[in-house]
Symmetry: C2
């Protein structure tokens, strides 16, 4: 059976029990595998002819492996050349952000336009029901259908512009010395990880497990400290938990454990939270455009509140899925 595309690479020497493995073999194998994935994604992106489904898929692959690489460099920094690990993380983050930004804007526009569509349909249905029930009473609801089209057009203009800028920036980055340097680093890493000699030769369960345990504890602590989902909206605390959850999941991958099926669902909930929070901010920011019509601003207000509610729903979904790891 071929492995599913998002399965992490198997280490070659899979005959040795994980607990007896040297830390260097376990961590080195993981880093080399993810670096190979990253290189493959970069090649696929280069071969894709301009933006499109193929390039988008390559960027998704790139982000998937780059954030695993980056998480491993962070969690197991103590087993690596620390300065190199920090530098490489910075460059990987730059690479993934630069190549993916245009797709982030595309997804945000899609989310906002779908939400506007849904809100307009709801408002029209309400109005129809209202007219049947009490004629004239719901006339104010016209405000949404009048402004929604212009709000949608305004958001599309803004996000298309942002997307075009992000695309140009990505093209410039691909031709830059910085890009070639990080691609070289990843290519080297695909063959050999610069492990700290002392740690690498010790058993994995002595060196790597305690570091993975630290990641678990940081996550559990941050979740304990979260404000209630409906309380004043401190997005940052939830975004932080999202990062810590990811670090925990990937640390478990390195030591060949699973973080549990709930962890993937909880991550998706926090991804939804971030997407909705950023879409809400985009609606608010568009409402600050000078000289827009009041009806446009009204529709953007409805859209903003709708996305804030989606963010709150995602927090509740996270709470429902969360299990103390």
């Amino acid at each position: 059976v071929p492995p599913p595309p998002d399965a992490r690479p198997r280490r070659p020497a899979a005959t040795v029990a994980v607990a007896d493995t040297h830390a260097g073999d376990l961590l080195g194998g993981y880093l080399c595998g993810q670096a190979a994935h990253t290189l493959r994604a970069l090649r696929r992106h280069r071969e894709a002819d301009g933006p499109g489904a193929e390039a988008a898929e390559a960027v998704r692959e790139l982000r998937r492996s780059a954030r695993r690489l980056s998480a491993a460099l962070h969690t197991f920094r103590g087993c690596l050349d620390g300065a190199w690990a920090d530098r490489t993380r910075t460059e990987l983050a730059w690479l993934a952000a630069t190549l993916s930004l245009e797709y982030v804007y595309a997804a945000r526009q899609e989310r906002l336009s779908a939400a506007l569509q849904r809100l307009t349909e709801t408002s029209a249905a309400q109005r129809a029901a209202g007219e049947r029930a009490v004629a004239g009473r719901d006339a104010g609801r016209n405000a949404l259908s009048a402004g929604a089209a212009r709000a949608g057009a305004l958001l599309e203009r803004r996000l298309t512009l942002a997307r075009a800028r992000a695309h140009s920036a990505a093209l410039r980055a691909l031709g830059s010395a910085r890009f070639h340097a990080v691609a070289d680093t990843v290519a080297v890493l695909a063959h050999e990880a610069p492990l700290e000699t002392g740690a690498a030769a010790r058993p994995a369960h002595r060196v790597l497990y305690p570091l993975a345990e630290q990641a678990r504890r940081r996550l559990a602590g941050a979740v304990d400290a979260l404000p209630p989902p409906a309380a004043v909206r401190e997005d940052a605390a939830w975004h932080h938990v999202r990062l810590l959850l990811r670090l925990h999941r990937y640390a478990q991958e390195v030591v060949d454990r699973s973080a549990g099926a709930w962890a993937a669902a909880a991550t998706r909930a926090l991804d939804q939270h971030r997407d909705a929070a950023e879409a809400a901010a985009a609606a608010a920011s568009a409402a600050a455009t000078p000289r827009i019509a009041p009806s446009t601003a009204y529709a953007l207000g409805v859209l903003h509140a709708d996305q804030r509610h989606e963010a709150e729903a995602a927090r509740l979904a996270f709470g429902a899925r969360w299990e103390v790891p």
Copy 2:
């Protein structure tokens, strides 16, 4: 132990078991008791010196007894002079609506102003958190704090005007021949209910119970037919269930049964639903005011969506409390 103030009046001949009671005694006793309550509330309202806490409390009492009277006239119409029952219901509805409208507007303004306050605080907290996290990124959120004050002032102007008009209409109504006629009807009803002779002499369980059972069935059928809470917002179906739930509760009161503790909680949820839906409509309607600033319209949009969300939450709360009666 004195009865709580909202307990329905006990019938004088409480020594006979309810099942053996004549329909006329049971229904007549209930109608006379509620009519006496209504008269007392009218007197209290007259004695209250202008609008204030005392008058508001009198109007609450009036609505409480008038809607029980009206429900009994509707459910048990078959045991009464039908044309008289219909006429009396119309007049009671007019009386209660006319005297309570100014308080409805006051409550709506309170709800909207509290919601705006909460949304502004949330937005300010978000902004503070955003500024700590990513400087400048959340600048668009200023839109709410800038517009909320003007939106609040606009809503206050509109609802204060509506309230003043409702107050004048109530004063005019209190001096009208129509008011004196309905007060006379209620005064007569407090002494004797015009029961249909044949039905009045039969046992209550033969005459009244089947009519109460019809009210129960109509409620259960309407709840079964409700759209899902998050589906397209057909407010009317929920408002209809609210009325049927009330008819069921009061019919159970007449036949000396309790509709169950859940029924009161479910009614409160549907009251919340109606209040939030009407507040949302008021925000939308204010947004249609000519020449308002875009930031005002934006804040009204946020407020509208917030109140629609409250309405949806109330539907979920109703669903959680609902038990097939």
